[in-house]
Amino acid sequence: MRRISQGFGLLLGLFGFTGIGVTHIIFPGLHCYACPLSVTICPIGLMQNLVIYGTVPYFWIGTIIAYGLVLGRGFCGWFCPFGTLNDLLSFNKTRIVKSFSYTKYVVLIGTIVAAWAFADTMFCKLCPAASIEASIPYLFLGVAHVNRPFIVHMITLGLVLIGMVLISRFWCRYLCPMGAILSLFNRVSFLHLKLDTNRCSRCNACAAACPMGLKPYEEYDDHNCIKCGECTSACSLDALTLTFSPQLPGKSRGQFPVRRSIDT
């Protein structure tokens, strides 16, 4: 199911092959709008441009909050093409280093400050999604050339790919500014993890399956959770479920899970 959804995200990202030009839709993930086949707008690229122009971004804010409310970081787990690439290279599901995971907020703030200070889209010049979706395609289309910016793009892409291979979802955990924005909505998004504390035995199977390196039985509403649902499949007791409903008091929040044996 998730693979189909991720495939749909990739398809929507590359819908330009159908001949449709750029639409007004802001993409709910990290996806370079310079990509020759893109029909949607990169939220981070647009954000930087709006900072440069000094526009109060009403349209951007409305769209991003809507995305945040619906899925939160669920877009990272179910839709984002760059997240899908992270998934494909997820070989090593190491435990997340929590303090490092705040670097994505530093990247987000740095992106905004740099756009304002240099009046330029500085993040785009380093963005690994742009490396794959703009630099390389335009090299083959004869627009780009192997020059210093191209080499810088390839270096950042190479480093991020190495990071992805060594640590699952490396980009999403530590660096993605779009993930940083969507993570703010994790505690209110309609798509969320629900923990049945009476069923959970704290066996750690969900933690072993989590590509973000979380312990879902403790961190089910963590800002790093991408709601991919890997933990729900891994849980033999069905203690964790993905649900789609407002996160209202008394609806889904259990107490701290009690240790139970599997056979009870």
Partner: protein, 334 residues
């Protein structure tokens, strides 16, 4: 049947309306000017930043726009002659000037004049038009000292409330109190509806689409931004001397593209060395249809800077090895 007096009256009224309309339209200036700040404040021996926004309100481009300060004892501007090569029909451009007062300038209000001279062509008929822009200046000893401000990016006024709002929402979102959930959902829902509706009313969805539909080669790091004037090589100059046919080039640019001025300057320089080269600049933000019609589109994306040779329709994109590629486009060998 209309009485002949009535008919004469109607004819006279029609003529009057036509003359009034003609005079009203005729008096409408081709270029309109907005000066910021409206009244500059300056100290003796000091400097003040001026921003002259020029809007072309006509159907034809305004060329070679030169701005200079006239009849202003004790004042000078930098650059001495501000210069804009062309403003496309219904286009806008901005000149950033520094007004400099000498140390012995009298205190009080001075009414300075900026003279704007430009060429306006309708088909083959060209006119040189001279406009004057009033620059009221208050010279006071208390004015801020001699600082040069050029293209300074001051903190926009909306930043502080914006940051406060973001911090507030972030605090609410991270707040674990479950009791706040329903009011929070209401606030967020209002933000979604209000943001989208007001954004669409302001045309921000069109702006967003425009940003995504034009690819500036330096913006996503396909090429390096160039901030220095290009210098033509000796080889290029001699190659240009061999050019024997008249050519027209169109430079497609976007005002926010960091690489475009380099491409524009190189074409300008080549045109200065060869009378056979004519050129014009086209802002793709405002002339997307023209860009589309002329093939400045690569896989649905308008790419800037792009230089097109009009007779052949050939286009080159970006500025990497531009001199070499431009000479190739012109059909001359280095």
């Amino acid at each position: 049947m209309i009485h002949r007096h009535t008919r004469a009256l109607l004819l006279a009224a029609t003529l009057a309306v036509a003359l009034f309309g003609y005079s009203a339209i005729g008096q409408e200036s081709i270029l309109s000017y907005t000066l910021s700040p409206e009244k500059a404040e300056i100290a003796p021996g000091g400097r003040a930043a001026l921003q002259l926004s020029i809007e072309n309100k006509s159907l034809h481009p305004a060329d070679d726009i030169a701005v200079s300060l006239i009849d202003a004892d004790g004042f000078t501007i930098e650059p001495a002659e501000g210069d804009i090569k062309v403003i496309a029909p219904f286009g806008k451009d901005t000149l950033y000037l520094n007004l400099i007062a000498s140390s012995n300038v009298a205190l009080g209000t001075h009414d300075l004049k900026l003279q704007v001279i430009y060429t306006y062509c309708i088909e083959v008929s060209c006119f040189q038009i001279v406009d004057e822009v009033s620059v009221p200046v208050l010279v006071s000893a208390a004015s801020v000292g001699p600082t040069t401000v050029k293209r300074v990016r001051s903190l926009p006024s909306w930043v502080i409330p914006m940051v406060a709002g973001i911090l507030l929402i972030t605090a609410i979102l991270l707040w674990r109190s479950a009791g706040m959930r329903i009011p929070l959902y209401v606030v967020l829902f209002l933000f979604v509806v209000g943001g989208l509706a007001y954004g669409v009313i302001l045309g921000q969805h069109e702006q967003a689409q425009g940003i995504a539909a034009v690819l500036c080669t330096s913006c996503v790091g396909i090429e390096e931004s160039q901030h220095e004037e290009p210098v033509l090589s000796e080889g290029a100059l001699s190659a240009l001397n061999n050019l024997s046919v008249d050519l027209e080039l169109i430079v497609y640019y976007a005002p926010w593209c960091h690489t475009c001025p380099y491409a524009e300057a190189m074409v300008e320089q080549m045109a200065q060395h060869s009378d056979h080269i004519k050129y014009r600049f086209v802002n793709v933000d405002e002339n997307r249809d023209m860009a589309a019609a002329n093939g400045i589109i690569h896989n649905q994306r308008t790419i800037v800077p792009a230089i097109q040779r009009v007779d052949s329709g050939d286009v080159i994109f970006g500025i990497d090895h531009l001199e070499e590629r431009l000479l190739d486009l012109l059909g001359v060998e280095k």
